[in-house]
Symmetry: C2
Subunit: 342 residues, 2 copies
């Protein structure tokens, strides 16, 4: 089985964006604020957006199951207050849940949280609980910068985040550390902010003792870990300067990288320097880079091709990257598969 641990509902019906725009208008003028129930999307519409897009490409490329969460760039936690984010997160999570109900063999949900800049992260817990207990979510996306590129929250090692970690440990669910749209003109969202956040999050963990406090806490750092594997020597050296343990002991029981690196040399670097047990297959398809690479004739984000072409990830290692690691890092996914006899 090939599990893609990083998919977002980037192809949701236009009605979702229209509703969101009305909600944003409602922040300024309460008379314009829509009700959640104003959003009407039929199962047929949902089915069509998935069958024509993600599911079609999964079948073409040969992946079986996607861990599916709301569109990352649309989380936009910087817009409005907690109430705005809370309503929006609930709607987005419910849409993903409906997709999963329509295609239970191909999708399993991960939750977006109703984060909001300057608001206590603990306020996200009720939605997290609802998503795990009622909607069958097997993980969450955690935004280390709800401000959208101004980085006004404390580092992930700060105790302000601990209530979320306690709940994650209780439910035994991992978090993908994933920012949303940048509203800082310096940072292009998918070309700079995403990668910077990945690197930043890793270094926040490196300089702290977060995983001493939470030995079973697990983070997936997406986009191949930002700059981290490429600069693995720098990070090993910085850990040494800071008198931290070797990275494999300090961080690699808790931090995992996905394979959203869109060319063969990048995947080869990732799989050369990061132990195989820390790498989870992913494509973030359909996402930031949708085109065809003129150098290969295939889609940039068809990451399975890079794994298939790898001379580094072979034999059982390939099974680990495709399936084994995801089942270990997402125990609720594993349990759901076992319940189906898989």
């Amino acid at each position: 089985m090939i599990i893609d641990c990083h998919g977002h509902y980037t192809t949701a019906p236009k009605a979702l964006e229209t509703w969101r725009n009305r909600q944003i208008a409602g922040i300024q003028d309460a008379a314009l604020m829509p009700k959640a129930s104003d959003l009407q999307i039929s199962d047929d519409e949902l089915r069509e957006t998935i069958e024509r897009n993600q599911l079609r490409l999964m079948k073409e490329r040969g992946s079986d199951l996607t861990i599916f969460s709301p569109r990352a760039s649309f989380m936009a936690h910087h817009i409005g207050d907690f109430q705005v984010s809370s309503t929006w997160a609930a709607i987005c999570n419910e849409l993903c849940f409906r997709v999963v109900q329509l295609f239970p063999d191909h999708f399993i949900p991960a939750a977006m949280l109703p984060q909001s800049p300057g608001v206590d992260p603990a306020t996200s817990i009720p939605e997290l609980v609802r998503c795990v207990e009622q909607l069958g979510n097997v993980g969450i996306n955690l935004n280390p910068d709800p401000s959208g590129g101004h980085w006004t929250s404390p580092p992930l090692s700060d105790r302000a985040w601990y209530p979320i970690y306690e709940k994650m440990v209780e439910y035994d669910i991992p978090a993908m550390i994933h920012v949303s749209t940048s509203c800082n003109a310096c940072f292009h969202t998918t070309g700079a902010h995403y990668l910077n956040a990945d690197t930043t999050a890793f270094m926040q963990c490196l300089t702290s003792d977060l995983f001493t406090d939470f030995p079973t806490l697990r983070f997936i750092i997406p986009h191949g870990g930002g700059a981290v594997p490429y600069h693995w020597g720098r990070f090993r050296g910085l850990a040494q300067e800071l008198k931290k343990p070797l990275l494999k002991d300090h961080l690699l029981k808790n931090i995992f990288f996905d394979t959203c690196v869109y060319h063969q040399p990048g995947i080869d670097l990732l799989t050369t320097v990061i132990p195989v047990e820390n790498i989870l297959f992913a494509s973030e398809m359909i996402g930031a880079v949708r085109g065809i690479d003129p150098e290969t004739g295939h889609c940039f984000d068809d990451t399975k091709r890079y794994i298939e072409a790898s001379t580094i990830v072979v034999g059982d290692d390939r099974h680990q990257v495709y399936e084994g690691n995801a089942r270990r890092v997402f125990p609720r996914l594993d349990a759901a598969l076992i319940a189906k006899g898989l």
Copy 2:
């Protein structure tokens, strides 16, 4: 000849830091503000800090000439106002100039600018002119984020930066895009902020047409280009989505990467995906990562070993990385060497 294009005076005598601390105290209490002339450092002191450190390691490792600029993390442009930065930049640039006078065969200077958050970049031009015309500087360090991790300046493609670019073009000098200390608790200075800035700067160039306006402008993106080479497929794909030319045409006549990547797989990735004419040898020694890699028994930042061990950069390509590209990207360096018969 082996030219290291990225060295900072990280080993300056303690008196420099003491003076800076007095200056910082003077921001709050003008009575404490030192005069520039209060800083007294003898040639013998300068000589000792270099002979025991950078020059010793250059001889041990086998590099010949370092492009030498003030300590990046000490630029701290976020501290004080333009006057504070201006005095500080002048002092730091003069110290590097004195080092170069003491060791003219081994060092050549690049300038720090007196940038200050919210202050027109054009105010840096007098110091730039002085450094080029009077102190023989062959390049500058340009900080894309003088706020120190709050990213409050416009992107490098903004016209606010154009006066500096016009002067760079006039003098035919490149800029290394290099941030300073992070005062944002989210970003570790050398483990996150530096790498993020590299990626950010590249993407600012990618999304703009800066090099259409300045076809001969040249940027060196340090630390191996941040996350860029590792995600070269993503950047090629994003350029394609944005209807930009191929990166080799859009950016690689103007953007160069150094080799400050502290392990063999990273250097191999860099040299696999980036054309050899865009790679300049560098170590940033003595800098962020000073220890010995237990996996190799050699210093992490002894980057020459990675080039020597490379099976990708061989023959004349190695000469390009070590010398040819630096002479082409820094024409004033080339002229200075030619004047010496080199």
